[in-house]
Amino acid sequence: MAQSFKFNPLQIPDELTPLRMEVRSFLLDASSDWSGWDLGHSWTCFNREFSREVGKRGWIGMTWPEQYGGHDRSALERFVVIEEMLAAGAPVGAHWIGDRQSGPLLLRIGTEEQRQRILPMIVRGDAAFCVGLSEPGSGSDLASIRSHADKVDGGWRLNGRKIWTTYAHLSDFMMGLFRSDRSKERHAGLSQFLIDIHSSGIEVRPIADLTGEAHFNEVLFEDVFVPDNMLLGSEGNGWQQVTSELTFERSQPDRFMSCFPLLPLSIDALQNNEDRLACRQIGQSLSELVVLREMSLSILGQLEQGQTPSQEAALVKELGNSYEQRTPNMVRELFDTPAVMTRGDRFSELQAYLTQTVPSFSLRGGTREILRGIIAKGLGL
């Protein structure tokens, strides 16, 4: 039986070293006042000022065409930039979704008008996006969503509720999935809309998460008008669009590097320590990380060749989430420090934040169980 996945290697050429060093030195300067708590957030740390700085340097929308403000650079160049950002725990949350998902989606299926209007804003770090998929009654079973869009003169009228919408309260736009044809069921009759989050009729209610922060929200829609030109892609094609978007999302280094900043801090704390088990832990963690990075690069290569490596992306997310989830416990095993968070101590704040946050890694972006289901199906089960 032929294997249902393949991972041909892709290597980053040495020519990209100057770019890497440029990003690294920018981050070295920028990072001096990041707290451990900030580092733990990294790609979920919303900091528009930082995003604008990144935008100024040409590191958002890197691969997009120049006509939309992009920089016509290669996917590998972008990979270098994003992995450097993640390694440093940089607060990239304000542009992450736009750069990773919304922009590429607009390039694939957006109208010319949408691209010209929105993409340059993302590139500058001026447009932040949230993703409106989940609803109170629809989590893993996304096709059961009930929020709906009714056709009206010149546009659509949206009603319903979205939930768990990360940074809806800070974003400019929502990419929202709504049922545009209520006579159809499940995967049919869904459409995606680009919604100005400040439209009248939208109420954003922050929800505190278990760390005490309100980073996600409930978003209520009451007769919200969205003009025709803000329909994303084609009417009724929302399901296909969203699932292809998820393939992009699932294989990138943010799916296995969320806890990376714990590693250098651990190594620092292990200097002059001869403990064999500690060495093993570090070695094992590093080996897993290197292999995940190879897998992620391979998927990048496949996407570049126009393939749709959904099975491979699900495998990387499954392995990557489990890997990053284990890291705070590894740190606990290494140092066994009391569960006291010392404010101002980077390592202590980071460990405290990540210990509480890792459970979300195998929920967001598709739960572990859903991913395993996708993999099993791909295997022919």
Binding site: D14, E84, I267, L381
Partner: protein, 358 residues
């Protein structure tokens, strides 16, 4: 690059045909009983597989390690009961150090030996796979700061038979003043661990192959074995277990590819180290899952599952276990300090060395 890859895949396809035709339960049993698989071996020799890594001037195919990776993986998938991976490595290092290639079966001892002032070899190795069947053994020895590639005639070595999990003929070596039949200075690329990282890389690739076969056996079995009126593959618990097996398989395969690429880039120790840790982990977890999926039938001698799982348990220990390598990698990583960590993953490290051995 792409044409090279094609050659590699063509080789692997041919290997797959040969092994599909010849690796049977009977053959595996006869090898476990101490016979060598001569017919298979002769076929592999005739088809030029033994010299795949040897350069063309010396009659080989001049392939790189990345090119032969699919072929090695194929050997792992079939549990090929021949020292092909070992022979590829032996011939590669012999040719690279300018030594004549022996005929017949040859294996490698990954231990590092001492060469004394009279060119006599000292040292030991607790388990050299295939040593009892091979006419020749290749090993690396040190003298002062220099390293040497040594070809040993098996007859001159004390080969103490050992029982292993694979039951493939294996022997311990205890050499006290043995004279090698040929000695040459080792290629510069052979580092302080001698052939160990290379063998670790081979085993990692073989693990990826064996896991691939386990995965396809599990899928097939889950779709056919029925309980409670339906195929067990309809139960989510089984689906998820097999999905995890798939993810371990993928990781082990990528690890093996990585190791081979690192050898080509003259960075064998790092490649072997990282790969063997990851593949070793995957081997254990993968075997565990497969046995759970197969139930009691998979636990019988009659079922062929154990020809794969016993190999996985053996290979994860051979040439340094995941524990041994991770301790070493951890030591090096901690010694390089926090600032060295990310560059060790993403670069730049020191300038890439040239391909010393192609």
């Amino acid at each position: 690059m792409s044409t090279e890859l094609n050659i590699g895949e063509l080789f692997a396809e041919q290997m797959d045909r040969v092994l599909s035709d010849s690796v049977s339960r009977e053959l595996l049993i006869s090898v476990e009983n101490g016979q060598s698989a001569d017919t298979l071996w002769n076929t592999l020799e005739e088809l030029g597989f033994l010299l795949a890594l040897v350069d063309e001037e010396n009659g080989g195919s001049g392939l790189g390690w990345e090119d032969v990776e699919p072929t090695l993986r194929c050997c792992g998938r079939h549990g090929a009961p021949v020292p092909l991976p070992e022979t590829l490595l032996a011939n590669w290092v012999l040719a690279a150090s300018g030594l004549a290639l022996p005929t017949g079966l040859v294996t490698v001892s990954p231990a590092l030996y001492q060469l004394d002032g009279n060119d006599k070899l000292h040292g030991g190795d607790s388990g050299v796979t295939w040593a009892p069947l091979c006419e020749n053994i290749v090993a690396i020895a040190k003298r002062d700061a220099n390293r040497y590639v040594c070809l040993l005639s098996q007859e001159q070595c004390q080969v103490e038979p050992q029982e292993t999990l694979t039951r493939e003929p294996t022997g311990a070596l205890d050499l006290v003043g043995v004279t090698p039949s040929a000695i040459a200075e080792a290629p510069r690329t052979i580092g302080g661990l001698g052939l160990l990282p290379y063998l670790a890389s081979l085993r990692s690739v073989q693990i990826g192959g064996a896991l691939e076969e386990l995965l396809s056996l599990c899928v097939e079995y889950a779709n056919t074995r029925e309980q409670f009126g339906r195929p067990i593959g309809k139960f989510q618990a089984i689906q998820h277990a097999i999905a995890e097996l798939a993810s371990q398989t993928a990781a082990a395969q990528v690890a093996g590819q990585y190791a081979c690429r690192q050898i080509d880039a003259d960075n064998a120790e790092r490649g072997g180290m990282i790969a063997k840790i990851r593949a070793g982990q995957a081997a254990g977890r993968g075997a565990e899952i497969a046995h759970q999926v197969f139930g009691a039938i998979g636990f019988t001698d009659e079922h062929s599952l154990h020809y794969l799982t016993r190999r996985l348990w053996q290979w994860r220990c051979d040439a340094g276990s995941e524990f041994w390598w991770s301790e070493r990698l951890g030591q090096k990583t901690i010694a390089a300090g926090a600032d060295g960590l990310w560059p060790s993953i993403a670069g730049p490290t020191e300038l890439r060395k040239t391909h010393a051995l192609r």
